[in-house]
Symmetry: C2
Subunit: 430 residues, 2 copies
């Protein structure tokens, strides 16, 4: 495509600015699901894509699509995009970048090459972060079968607003069961109407900031994601005996915090020994009673363990939990472990990965095969269709923060690679 | 005293029951400073002691005294008692036992032996626990010079009620500065009126439950306290870098919690190596941001370190803080340590300790010399006059809990020893 006109990076950067303007007050961008700023941005995107000649629609949960129909007699779609929601005080790039680039790519491809052979579709998923309601991937999960609909019924945000009420406030149908359905006892079996699972997706491609420091540290422009890690989350509860910090000799203590400290160090040691891409983290830890002069009687902490291979993840988790149990027994502590999350690793499509590498080579861009340690909408499509992810560097690895940053040059490189892949998928006889 | 009538343990046990009835609702006993139940119990004690023929008075902060004047022409007083306040949902024995036993002992001594040579005084200190206002030893501190008065001016409880208002609600003069004094800018230099420091105390004797498990584990009836430990408290702040738990490889982390865990284990290891009576505890630890999928960027934790010898305490604290600094540097973390408390060890009077041992031997009671790992009112008197403490076993070492328990036999043994010591001090030519 070197002979073709340059991809209009300025258009994408301007669109990113426009999207960032839809935010609740405060530092960075705050655009939680079904809030006024969320409604505003999804309507803005619909208008913008309509203006660019795409067929626009919004589905039942608020995902927005812009369609550029192909000339072939097929209902298959090349889908590309990301999520439009952010965390509280998040950045301008996480999610929004993949949407702004996709809109720009489709505009450029149509303007430059006309109608594609295969249908191209941009998607702006309503939600991925889980920042307002206790559900993640509400957008991509809706169209991939992760959710049936009833999951949203019991959901409320921190202020007690139910998801149904929040949807209604955005002019969406909501997911509340009608009085008649409720009378018929259908709450538990509520389903999305018009089965929303998309069996028409031939490929899903997502462009995203890395949210990590690997590309920056290794000076690569593009990350070609080979797999999105599987993730296990556990809540670990360690019980000892709360006692007086002054009158209980060291030898007569069952200190739940000292025991937990030993577990955290064992976790770190094992994770370092296992090596990349395994990561293991305790992000939350709470001590009870939490008084300076009382030996902690109970500690609860979280475990977040990730790996790109299911077998390795399983083996590591089993080994570390066995070590925790041994350690608890030795200290006279009791241990209770509750699994809270178990997502399997999602391999990306190998042909698409190879295509991305060829494109980078052709465009003279440095690239690196890598694992995504963060979850992304693409992982839900991996089971349905060939899926691919393209990463660009994140300055300092910072994301979910107003300090999130990728340079215009880095963002442009990602757009160029995405555009070339979409061209291959939709315009060539592949 | 073997030929004398038995000490009336039943009277003391009944008085303990009566005191326990003054409690806010809820499990155990809750009798916070200057609350209605606190007012009730101090007035009850005044009436009871008046009925027993003691001269009764209440001082400016609400300490209650019952005086049995001696026949010698001396203003010196043998003072015995403890504190009347409890923690929230505390037990029936912590503090109250020392008062009930002292009242019973004076009643018995007067009834059996008549007027003493030296004046005996029971004290029910208004406060020791620091459970309502952020001050401890408000009662004994008032009469030993720990406080000048102005410390209470800025104090408020968790509901925002100032100490002055709480005192006024109990009919006490309060410590608020008058309008005229405030106009004269005297708030900061406010002093208790009628300098309350008691230079008339010839000896202070306190009977208390152990609040630990040493007497129970070693099967001793009486603990003869040699020293009350000195105590250092620190707030330690460890800063690393908050980062994404999925996208940050193990080798690129500055995890404030993993670093803190290593410090806690080092603390435990050093304390065990140092041996009794050193104890070191982290009772509170807080993680920020405290999200399961974010590497902790900041951890704050408390240190509570105690020893009965000032030099050993100083040396241990310096060594462990140096180890923390070394450890932080190695992990790329920053460390900030703030000292919050520094009390020096308080040795008890050796002659009184020997007298207690003789009494135990004479009464056929098993006893053990020990260090008090908890703070007590007696530690403030140690600098002013000979001071002694007698411990009785606490079941399971439990205190500050509705489960606090010492058996009637154990309580009676303590009463017998206290009574004998008071007899020696007030009735014999010692």
């Amino acid at each position: 495509m070197r002979q073709d006109p340059p991809v209009p990076a300025g258009e994408m950067l301007k669109l990113l600015d426009e999207l960032a303007a839809f935010s609740a007050p405060g530092p960075g961008v705050t655009r939680l699901l079904y809030t006024p700023e969320w409604c505003g941005v999804q309507h803005f995107l619909q208008e913008r894509m309509t203006g660019l000649g795409l067929e626009v629609r919004m589905d039942q949960v608020g995902n927005v699509y812009g369609r550029l129909a192909g000339s072939e007699a097929s209902d298959k779609v090349i889908l590309t995009g990301s999520h439009i929601d952010t965390v509280v005080n998040g950045g301008r790039y996480d999610g929004a970048y993949g949407i702004a680039a996709a809109v720009t790519a489709l505009h450029y491809l149509q303007a430059t090459f006309g109608q594609p052979l295969r249908t191209l579709e941009v998607v702006s998923f309503c939600e991925e972060e889980g920042s307002r309601f206790p559900l993640t991937f509400w957008g991509s999960g809706h169209v991939t079968g992760l959710y049936s609909g009833s999951e949203g019924l019991d959901c409320a945000d921190a202020e007690g607003i139910t998801m149904g009420a929040a949807m209604a406030a955005c002019g969406l149908g909501g997911i509340a069961v009608s009085g008649a359905e409720a009378a018929a006892g259908l709450e538990g079996s509520y389903r999305f109407k018009d089965s929303p699972v998309r069996s028409d997706v031939a490929a899903y491609v997502e462009l995203h900031i890395e949210q990590g420091i690997i590309l920056e540290r290794t000076s690569h422009q593009i990350g070609v994601v080979q797999a999105i890690v599987g993730q296990r989350r556990y809540l670990v509860k360690v019980c000892g005996t709360a006692n007086h910090a002054g009158t209980t000799p060291m030898g007569l203590r069952q200190d739940a915090l000292a025991g937990s400290a030993e577990m955290l160090l064992a976790l770190e040691r094992s994770a370092v020994a296992e090596g990349d891409p395994l990561v293991a983290t305790t992000g939350r830890l709470e001590v009870s009673p939490g008084t300076p002069n009382v030996i902690p009687g109970e500690v609860q902490f979280t475990l977040d363990i990730r790996h790109s291979e299911a077998g390795m993840l399983e083996r590591f988790c089993a080994a570390i939990l066995a070590e925790f149990a041994e350690l608890s027994g030795r200290r006279g502590l009791t241990l209770a472990v509750q699994q809270q999350l178990d997502t399997t690793p999602a391999p990306m499509d190998q042909e698409l990965c190879e295509a991305l590498e060829e494109i980078c080579l052709g465009q003279g861009k440095s690239f690196r095969s890598m694992v995504s340690g963060a979850g992304h909408d693409a992982q839900l499509f991996a089971a349905l269709c060939p899926a691919a992810m393209i990463f660009v560097p994140s300055r300092g690895g910072i994301s979910h923060s107003p300090g999130e940053y990728s340079s215009p040059e880095e963002l442009t490189a990602g757009l160029e690679v995405l555009t070339a892949l979409l061209y291959r998928l939709a315009y060539t006889e592949n």
